[in-house]
Structure formats: structure tokens, C-alpha cells
């Protein structure tokens, strides 16, 4: 039996609790009460039902969606973890399987997959960015969230278009009782949230956030922090309207928007040594979500959505430009029907569609923006080779899927099948020459992707978990250029397999050991030939694999304490073409240790986080030659990714204090210190101009973030 968080209390010692995707930890005694099933996919705060002893309780409900290796946390819990600065989405950085991104980046690296291989969803709607630039804040206000879920790999058939992991954010049900508001201000940014019922059927919520860290740092003259790492200006907005239709039927309208802008200029009296970088990103989403739970317990969930993504990357290295501008219209539809099949299974059938119509302009260096696998060192100018292209691309994916949750005694088996149909179009199959007409390129591809997960309960305390499946993802519109990419690219593919064991040590203490293996094929990589073919700057001959073991010991809330220790040992490799050597993945971090703890003492809460990760691989410089034309030295590289940056470790601490100002008003004051030991973590190697000396650029020193949060 698995239910959305439902707690059942009886006056005697009998006490059962069902968690999402879990099981009753202790069977309650009988009751005649019956709980109404929640809407499909809906997570609500724990529902409590009092029952007299010796009453039978019959609970009917569909098994909520849950991946075998998914880690899901409530927003309230996530907010209290040190290192998140009160942003619940940032909790995923502390979950197992998540490798630390390079400082100053917002990348998600899960189980050795490239950042662009992981898909991000809000209520099933794909968004392009989870974090604002530099990873400071998430692009979604935590006040509107119910939960944050991270699946590093081997997820179910209802999601796709990605060969990496999956991050899902679920928005919360808006309160019906009265108006609520929250105002939060810290040294990073300020945010506000308000929700209110409008009549009996409608609830409305608005949220907004504005970042001011760049001005905070400027105001205190923080030395050198922004010399190497740009601090973005960011904003995000959300609105949600919930309309209650009939009983157990609702319609939500949600709007999301996020913008980022970042610029850095390094001026020099020699114009050839000027450096500038300006980037901006924005996305908007509007979606409807219709949910209905029928009398037989089956449910319907339909989410049509439309949106717009825009990004600008404008860099200059002297007079050598590197510009990439992209504007995309995005749309999609996710519809799912879940129903009982007899009494032992839940059948989910649905369709997952997404389309992207992108317009792109790229001008300048062939090697900037950099790709995974590029050999370069910090500060090295890009190559002198330049070109330009303007193109449009269409990436359309239609994916019907079905999965069956089958309960057979101690075994829960979930086989699924997804059919990914791709239509990939590029406006030009060859570079533009004169006024020659554009001859487009169109590719139809299909991928059948069987997936399965299983959970076998060996005892009340021990269960074995396994999951496997095939995955695919379409090429990025950026890669479909006839000049800078290859218009004929098809989907990249991967096979995921995981096996683990879950042990409940106590009611609240559990351990999960899991092993994972991911192989990747048809990966897009640069063509390293000296004379590549026309319109094939990228080849799809790359392969890769990542594998490892992770252990997580997790204490759920118990006497005011919760926390976990997660340790991952892994290896991630790539081979860019069949004839090339296997190399380490640019983001390979073979050891990741995270320990998180939070303890409540009355109105005080204290949190600590410790993180250790291996240093990222990099390529050594073995010598240099002098480029007389540009009056600069050029590095001679050693074996690709054969050395590493120093290991990273950091301790973060958080303390907050709550003040009840009235029955409905609470003030929370918090102080968070990042890197409390002021440890100098090496983030990059930097070289002298002639490459004879090497230094290490270190990351942030001790940084304090203070703020206050008022809840009305």
C-alpha cells in the first residue's frame, strides 16, 4: 500500500504512516473510515485521521508517481538546510548523485551526465534553467513550491528528452482559509509572496524576487570576488490561479518568468587584450493544469503549456568576437490518465509532447562558447578562426507512454514503454554562399524506450530496488547550424541501470545503497579532423559511460533533528570518436561526500553542511610556443584531462530564530555563513603569460548571508 502522505492515528499504540511511494511502517488496527483519494500527483501536507482501536481503515488511492531512486524533500525541510540560503530548490546540491558544479556556474551534473542532459520540470512543464546565473538562487520562488524531487537516472516512462537526470518541482495547493503573505530580504535578494482566496472557488498567488547581490558586493567593496566570477542581476516572477471546478476537479493557471543579466569587462590599454563578456537569459512559461479524480479512483491530469526562451552570449577577446543569440518559442502538452487495473495494479497512460522553434545567430570564433571536451586553460583566448551564421531550427518530440504499477505481495514492479518520435529541422543543410536559396534539412527519428523499475521488500526493514531503461534526447538547436554545427544530427541515446538496497534502521532512520551504470551513445562532439567535411563541424560519434556506488544514511525528523550523510564513488568517461582515446569527463568527480544536519531548539534552529568533492579534471600545460602575430604565448598541452584541480571541501553553517509576533504572524531571522573555515578552495589553474608558472584561483572565502523572513 502506498499513499500520498497520510498519517493515521489510533488512541492505542497503533500508529501507521504512509509516505509517498512508501509503505505503512506499522499497520493500523481496523477502522471503518474511508479517506477520499487525493487528486493524481497531488501532494498535500500530512492528513491525519483519528481512529478508535480495533477499527478498520480502508484507504483507496492511486499510487503516486515515484521513481525508484528519487529523492524528494518537502520545501519546509529543504529550506532549513545550511547552504541553501533559505532557497528550497538549492537542496538538490546536497543530495546524493549531484556533483559540485564549477564555482560561478549554474550547472547540474548528475551521475556523470553533462549538465545539458538533465531535464528540469515545474508541474511537468519543462524549464531551461533551474538556477539564476552563477547558481546563486533558483529561478522559482520556494513559497509556491510543495516539493523538490531529484532523480539522478533511471526514471520512469512519463519523462524523457534527456539522457541525464531529472529534477521536478511541484507547486503547492494554495491555502483556502485566508490571505497569506511572506516577505524575505537578505544580502542576496528580496522576495515577496502573497496568496488569497477570491470567493469560494478561486485562489490566487503572486510571487516575485529581485537580486541585488552585485550591488551589495559593490557597496562593501568586497575585494577581488568579482574579478574572476561575475555576479548576475536576476529577477523571477510567478503567478498561480487555482479554480475549483467540481468535487475533486480543479484547473490551475500558472505563469513563470525569470531573467538574468551578467557582464564583465577587463579593459586594457592594448585593444587586443580587452576582454568583455555579456550574457543574458530569460524564459517565460504559461500553463494550464486540469486535474480530475473520478469516482472509481482513476485520475486525469492535463497540462498544455507555451513559453519563450531567450539567451544572448556576447564575448569579445580583443577584436575577436564570439556572439550567440537564441530566441525560441516553446510549447508542449502533457496528459496522463491513471487508473486501477483490478486491485493490484495502477496503469498510467499518457502523452508527452514538446516543441521548440528557435531562431539563432552566431558570429565569431568557432571555439566559443566552449563545449565539454574542449582543451583549454583559464583565460586562454579562443582560436582566430571566425565565421557567421543565421539559422532556424525546429525540434519536435511526441512521446506516448504507458506504465503499469504492479503490486504482487512484497514485489512492486513497474514496467513502462515510451515511444519518442522526433522531427528535427534546420533551415540550411549547407552554409550560405551568395544568394543561393536555402535548402533545409529535415530528419524523422523514432526511439523505443522500454523502462522498468522494481522494489522487492525482503522484510519490514529491507527492500531491494532496481531500475533500468533506454533514454534519448534531441540535439540542441544551437548544434544544427550548417557552419558551427551539423544540421543532420539525430538524438543522443543512453542506457541507465541501477540496483540498490534500502534498509530502515528505525522508523525514521534509513540507509540506501545504490550502484549505477550509464552508457551513452551518439554523443555530439567536435570533429577533430584537420579537414572536416562541409556542414559537419560536429559529429555524433561520441560515446561515454559513468558508473559508481552511492550510500545515503538519512535521519528523518526526529526530536527536532534531521539530516543525512551521502557518499558517492563514481567515474565518468568519454570517447569523442571511435579512434580517439578514452578520457575523463570534464566534470568527473570520483568522490563526493555530503553531510547535512539541522537541529531545532525551541524557536532556534541550527544547521551545518559539510561537502567534499574531488577536483575536476583538467589538462596540463607542458610548454609553450610564441605566436609572433598576436604577440602571445600559446600552450602546449599534455594528455587530455590527466590532472585534477585540488579537492574541494567546505563547511556551511546556518542559524535562524523564529519570533511569533501574533497568532498569524511569524518573523524568522537567519544568518548563514558559507565556508566558515575560510578554506581556500582551488577552482581553476591560471598560468603566467608564458605558461612557465602556474597558480590556483581560489573560490569564495567566508561569506555571510543574513536575512529576515516575515510570514503573515
Amino acid at each position: 500500500m502506498a499513499l500520498p502522505a497520510v498519517s493515521i492515528f489510533a488512541p492505542s499504540a497503533a500508529h501507521g504512516q504512509a509516505e509517498a511511494g512508501g509503505h505503512l511502517s506499522q499497520e493500523p488496527e481496523s477502522s471503518n473510515s474511508e479517506l477520499q483519494p487525493l487528486a493524481s500527483g497531488q501532494m498535500s501536507p500530512a492528513r491525519e485521521v483519528s481512529a478508535a482501536p480495533s477499527t478498520e481503515i480502508i484507504v483507496r488511492g492511486l499510487r503516486p508517481r515515484h521513481d525508484a531512486f528519487e529523492e524528494k524533500l518537502s520545501v519546509e525541510q529543504a529550506r532549513e538546510v545550511s547552504g541553501t540560503q533559505g532557497d528550497p530548490v538549492k537542496i538538490i546540491e546536497s543530495l546524493p548523485g549531484f556533483a559540485r558544479a564549477p564555482f560561478g556556474s549554474d550547472q547540474l551534473i548528475l551521475w556523470g551526465a553533462a549538465p545539458e542532459d538533465t531535464r528540469l520540470y515545474v508541474d511537468g512543464v519543462e524549464i531551461p534553467r533551474l538556477f539564476h546565473g552563477s547558481g546563486i538562487r533558483s529561478t522559482f520562488n520556494g513559497e509556491l513550491l510543495q516539493s523538490v524531487a531529484l532523480t539522478p537516472g533511471a526514471y520512469g516512462a512519463d519523462y524523457g528528452r534527456g539522457i541525464g537526470g531529472l529534477v521536478r518541482l511541484d507547486t503547492r495547493e494554495l491555502p483556502e482559509d485566508r490571505a497569506h503573505a511572506t516577505v524575505d530580504a537578505s544580502t542576496l535578494d528580496g522576495s515577496a509572496f502573497v496568496s488569497a482566496p477570491v470567493g469560494e472557488r478561486i485562489r490566487v498567488a503572486l510571487a516575485a524576487r529581485y537580486g541585488w547581490l552585485d550591488r551589495t558586493l559593490a557597496a562593501v567593496n568586497a575585494p577581488n570576488v568579482t574579478d574572476y566570477f561575475a555576479i548576475p542581476r536576476y529577477q523571477d516572477y510567478q503567478a498561480k490561479v487555482q479554480l475549483k471546478l467540481r468535487n475533486r476537479e480543479s484547473l490551475d493557471l500558472v505563469m513563470l518568468a525569470s531573467t538574468d543579466a551578467l557582464s564583465q569587462n577587463v579593459l586594457n590599454v592594448d585593444p587586443a587584450r580587452n576582454r568583455s563578456l555579456a550574457t543574458s537569459n530569460a524564459f517565460e512559461r504559461v500553463y494550464l493544469r486540469y486535474r480530475r479524480t473520478l469516482d472509481d479512483g482513476s485520475s486525469v491530469d492535463v497540462v498544455p503549456w507555451i513559453g519563450h526562451d531567450e539567451s544572448h552570449y556576447n564575448a569579445h577577446f580583443g577584436s575577436n568576437p564570439a556572439d550567440l543569440d537564441q530566441s525560441s518559442l516553446r510549447w508542449g502538452l502533457r496528459a496522463e490518465h491513471r487508473s486501477h487495473v483490478e486491485s493490484v495494479a495502477t496503469l498510467a497512460m499518457g502523452i508527452d509532447m514538446a516543441g521548440t522553434r528557435a531562431r539563432l545567430l552566431r558570429d565569431g570564433s568557432l571555439t566559443i562558447p566552449a563545449r565539454e571536451g574542449d582543451i583549454t586553460v583559464f583565460g586562454q583566448p579562443p582560436g582566430d578562426d571566425t565565421n557567421t551564421d543565421t539559422w532556424t531550427a525546429l525540434v519536435l518530440n511526441v512521446a506516448p507512454y504507458a506504465s503499469l504499477d504492479f503490486d504482487w505481495g512484497p514485489l512492486t514492479l513497474t514496467p513502462g514503454l515510451r515511444f519518442d518520435g522526433y522531427l528535427l529541422e534546420a533551415s540550411r543543410s549547407t552554409p550560405r554562399v551568395g544568394q543561393t536559396p536555402s535548402i533545409g534539412q529535415s530528419t524523422l527519428r523514432a526511439e523505443f524506450e522500454p523502462r522498468v523499475s522494481a522494489r522487492l521488500r525482503l522484510s519490514d526493514h529491507v527492500a531491494v530496488l532496481a531500475a533500468a531503461g533506454l533514454y534519448s534526447q534531441p540535439p540542441s538547436p544551437q548544434d544544427l547550424s550548417a557552419v558551427f554545427g551539423t544540421p543532420t544530427l539525430g538524438p543522443e541515446t543512453a542506457t541507465h541501470a541501477t540496483l540498490g538496497e534500502s534498509i530502515s534502521v528505525t522508523d525514521s532512520l534509513s540507509a540506501v545503497v545504490s550502484g549505477f551504470y550509464r552508457s551513452m551513445n551518439h554523443l555530439v562532439a567536435r570533429d577533430s579532423n584537420t579537414t572536416p567535411k562541409l556542414a559537419t563541424a560536429l559529429l555524433q560519434s561520441g560515446t561515454g559511460r559513468s558508473y559508481g556506488v552511492q550510500i545515503m544514511l538519512r535521519q528523518r525528523p526526529w526530536n527536532g533533528f534531521f539530516g543525512w550523510i551521502a557518499y558517492t564513488i563514481s567515474r565518468s568517461e568519454r570517447r569523442d570518436s571511435p579512434g580517439s582515446n578514452v578520457r575523463l569527463f570534464d566534470y568527473d568527480e570520483p568522490r563526493i561526500l555530503t553531510a547535512v544536519g539541522s537541529k531545532e531548539f525551541g524557536s532556534w534552529k541550527f544547521g551545518l553542511r559539510f561537502r567534499y568533492t574531488s577536483g575536476a579534471p583538467c589538462t596540463p600545460v607542458m610548454g609553450a610556443f610564441y605566436d609572433e602575430k598576436d604577440d602571445s604565448y600559446q600552450p602546449i598541452f599534455g594528455a587530455h584531462n590527466s590532472i585534477r584541480l585540488p579537492a574541494f571541501w567546505q563547511i556551511d553553517a546556518r542559524v535562524d530564530r523564529s519570533f511569533m509576533l501574533s497568532d498569524d504572524t511569524r518573523l524568522v531571522v537567519y544568518l548563514e555563513a558559507l565556508n566558515v573555515t575560510n578554506h581556500a578552495n582551488g577552482e581553476e589553474y591560471s598560468y603566467s603569460p608564458d605558461y612557465t608558472r602556474r597558480g590556483t584561483i581560489t573560490g569564495l572565502p567566508i561569506v555571510g548571508v543574513a536575512g529576515a523572513r516575515l510570514e503573515l
Partner: protein, 299 residues
């Protein structure tokens, strides 16, 4: 009350910068500083005179120890470096001569190997630099010096344009000519300084000039508009000294800056003696000129 006192919550207590001195302008050992070809741009196969500026060679008595080799290996477009890693390998090098100055013809197939002329078979043409140029690598090795590469600009046809545009380009494009260093002026506190007597520790403002004609305008094929436009060269001056301290290693003017002078500051050493000053003027199409001066630092 300072800002720091008002907002004590953002603390940045240590620096991020590695301590790597950038005294690239200080010449303490043998080094190839520049190469000038005459003419600065010509069709492949044209005999050219190449002259190297080599600082502090250990022994100039045997000029044959300075060797020149053309590289025949094109660079993969994926590499950031200006020449292929294969150009460091003897198997891709063709002897061009020896000595401080040589006369050699660029390989006749330079526009195929390093330019837009592609063999049959749907091969991607080479991509030009931001001035529209294609370059033949020429390696120079001097005793005790780091290997250096001169990139000789070769005059190739416009291959990825329509016939009309290519014809127009062929008529309008004027091959690059080397710029000429005009004067190097030295002033101390606004007064002219004499190379024969610079006081030790003095701050000397150095000013290099060239003529307006040296920053040439040239026809450029703009691939985004598929038309011929006119661009103007940017100018750079690299400064080197054997002692003392320069404020910066290079200065210059970008293509939109019509000024024909650029300046730097040299702080004379605290001990008397003779200091060498090398000045290299480059335009953005690969042309160069250079001069060497000796300055007496007096008590």
C-alpha cells in the same frame, strides 16, 4: 560610518587571485620578439624576405643556428591555438632557410592548406580571422629561445561568396603593407629625455607614433550581409626592455580610434648601466615593423 560597517554581513576576507607576476616585457634571455616579412601579404609561391627580431641571442657569430621552417599541417578548427600541434613535430615542417633574415617563397598550396581553396569532396573551407585573412605558419628556432611561429598572410581568392561579390572583392582588396614606426619620443616630467642620459629610477614616458596611412583601410567580406565592407586596421605596439620596469607590455589603438600615437611608461632601473629597448609595431593584418634602442642610465 563606512559601507563595510553598515553591511558587515558580506565578508570577503581573502583574495581570489593567484600571485603570478606578468613581467612579459622584461627580456632576460634569448627570445624571438617579432618577424617582418616583405611584402607583408602576397600570393602563395611569392619569394618574400623574412627578418626576425631576436633579443639577447647567446651567440650571433653563427647565424645558421637560427632556423626557419614552413609548417604544412593545417590546424583542426576545434583547436584554440593558432597552429596545429603537428607544427611542433618535425614531420610537418619544411626547411625554409637559416639566419636572422632569409628569402623564401611560401608554399604554393598555402591557399589550399590554410585558405579557402578546398579539394573536391565537400571539404569545409578554412575559416578566416576577423580581418578576413588566411595564414601560412612559419616556425623560427633560435638557440635558447622558445619556438616561435610567424603567421604569414597569404593572398587567396574569396571562395565562399557569389561570383559578383568575389569579383568585387578581387578589385577592391589591397594587400597589406607593413606599417612603419615613426618616432619614439621619451619625456621625463614633460621634458624631453636623452637616450644618452636617463637618470636612474626616472619615470620615462615613451611614445610611439606612426602615420595615418599605416593604419590601412581594407576590403572585407562580411559573411552575415554577404557584401564587401570596408574595415580599418587596429595598431599595437609591444614594448620590451632589458632592465627597469614597464607599466604594461603592449599598448595600441583599435580600428575605430584614429589616433596615431600610443604611450607607455618605463621606470629606469635604480642602478646605472645600459638598457635595451625593443619596440614592435603591428597592424591587425599581420604586418610589422620594429626598432631597437640603447639607453644609458646614469647616476
Amino acid at each position: 560610518m563606512t559601507h563595510r560597517a553598515v553591511l558587515p554581513i558580506v565578508l570577503a576576507l581573502s583574495a581570489c587571485k593567484p600571485n603570478l607576476s606578468e613581467d612579459d616585457w622584461l627580456i632576460t634571455s634569448a627570445r624571438v620578439l617579432a618577424v617582418k616579412s616583405e611584402p607583408a601579404e602576397a600570393k602563395p609561391g611569392t619569394p618574400l624576405t623574412f627578418t626576425a627580431l631576436i633579443a639577447n641571442p647567446p651567440d650571433m657569430s653563427d647565424a645558421s643556428t637560427i632556423t626557419w621552417q614552413f609548417c604544412t599541417a593545417p590546424k583542426p578548427p576545434t583547436e584554440n591555438n593558432v597552429v596545429s600541434a603537428a607544427c611542433l613535430d618535425a614531420s610537418s615542417l619544411v626547411d625554409a632557410g637559416s639566419g636572422v633574415s632569409i628569402v623564401a617563397a611560401t608554399p604554393s598550396n598555402a591557399c589550399s592548406l590554410f585558405g579557402p581553396n578546398t579539394p573536391p569532396g565537400g571539404v569545409r573551407p578554412r575559416d578566416p580571422d576577423e580581418t578576413g585573412g588566411y595564414y601560412q605558419p612559419l616556425r623560427i628556432d633560435a638557440p635558447d629561445a622558445v619556438p616561435a611561429f610567424h603567421l604569414e598572410r597569404v593572398l587567396c581568392n574569396l571562395a565562399d561568396a557569389s561570383f559578383d561579390v568575389a569579383t568585387e572583392f578581387g578589385k577592391d582588396y589591397i594587400p597589406n603593407a607593413n606599417p612603419r614606426i615613426g618616432t619614439i619620443a621619451a619625456t621625463i616630467g614633460g621634458n624631453p629625455g636623452s637616450p644618452s642620459g636617463i637618470p636612474r629610477g626616472a619615470r620615462v614616458e615613451l611614445e610611439a607614433s606612426w602615420t595615418a596611412a599605416d593604419a590601412e583601410s581594407y576590403a572585407y567580406y562580411d559573411r552575415s550581409s554577404q557584401t564587401i565592407i570596408t574595415k580599418r586596421e587596429s595598431m599595437r605596439v609591444a614594448w620590451y626592455v632589458s632592465s627597469g620596469r614597464l607599466d604594461t607590455e603592449s599598448t595600441g589603438r583599435d580600428e575605430n580610434d584614429l589616433s596615431t600615437v600610443t604611450s607607455n611608461v618605463w621606470t629606469a632601473p635604480s642602478t646605472p648601466g645600459t638598457t635595451k629597448l625593443w619596440v614592435v609595431l603591428r597592424d591587425s593584418r599581420g604586418g610589422a615593423d620594429f626598432s631597437t634602442y640603447e639607453v644609458a642610465v646614469v647616476p
